[in-house]
Symmetry: C2
Subunit: 150 residues, 2 copies
DNA sequence: CGCTATTATTTCAACATTAAACTATATACC
DNA sequence: GGTATATAGTTTAATGTTGAAATAATAGCG
């Protein structure tokens, strides 16, 4: 087991699952990032572009909700995407608190080109599990994630 | 399912598992960090202290291998722990390339006090799964992590 | 022995991330 | 209508994170 802790069975079991889950997440993140690095995209930038691509223009608050990130973080990520001309900020005329983030043509083209490779990478990484195992993994993670989130 | 992508069954299944795994890892990380924040410890700092506590003094390279982090990262994390007096750097006399990192008395006391609460938090977060589910989650994550790592 | 390759660590630039303080705008309600 | 409250976004300080370049020390080998 992946832990050096001497504890009850319950503790060792929970710690082992925890560590394995974290390592799997880290390893997957690193692998996915390898793809993205070729386009000089970070994972956060890719996540933002993908959300805008699939959901259409979003205000920064909603973007943060989708990506589970803080306001300040979204400000920076959008800053960096804007610098590269991949997205455009448009202040909402009706409620001037909101900043709607739109994909630029270049951003749309980039995410359209990049997304299939991302999908292929994820499929490949998870192909070590058969379909029912993938579904079981998703089910267990959903339960754990839901509990941990509250 | 957690994805808006229109693709083959295989793709949707893999993406769903991927997203659920990432969200579970994020949520668990945030929850664990809540505990640690009370002691003004980051997750990385806690990880380093824990490794030193359970494995004894390590050089920074080995610490990085345990925590799956880069050399430069370890330098910074150890810097911050050292500033707080929780660890001590000792240059190896035989091979002066190595810096051995030792827990200070204060660091040992802190991790001894903190670790049980960490364990309790992990046990609590995973208690939504029964024992066999936890083991299955660990098994699936181990497989995915191993593949993704190479 | 002396040169080369390897290994451990540090430094640096760029980006991520959070929490907290702050600004700007809009809403609610008396 | 004016004031309190809530919401969106920005800024700042601290830490993390990587990848690449730079340092320092050792090991291998002709």
């Amino acid at each position: 087991m992946g832990t050096h802790h001497r504890g009850t069975e319950e503790e060792v079991r929970a710690l082992d699952a925890y560590i394995k889950l974290m390592r799997a997440a880290n390893a997957l993140t690193a692998r996915v990032h390898r793809h993205l690095a070729e386009e000089r995209l970070t994972i956060s930038q890719f996540g933002a572009l993908e959300a805008l691509y699939h959901l259409g223009p979003l205000c920064q608050k909603d973007l943060g909700r989708k990506l589970l990130k803080t306001d300040g973080n979204i400000t920076l990520v959008v800053d960096n995407l804007e610098k590269r001309g991949l997205v455009e900020r448009r202040r909402d005329a009706k409620d001037r608190r909101y900043v709607m983030v739109h994909l630029s043509d270049e951003g749309r083209e980039l995410i359209r080109r990049t997304f299939p490779r991302h999908v292929a990478g994820v499929v490949e990484a998870l192909s070590v599990l058969d379909p029912s195992e993938q579904q079981e993994l998703a089910r267990l993670c959903r339960i754990v994630g839901k509990r941990a989130a509250d």
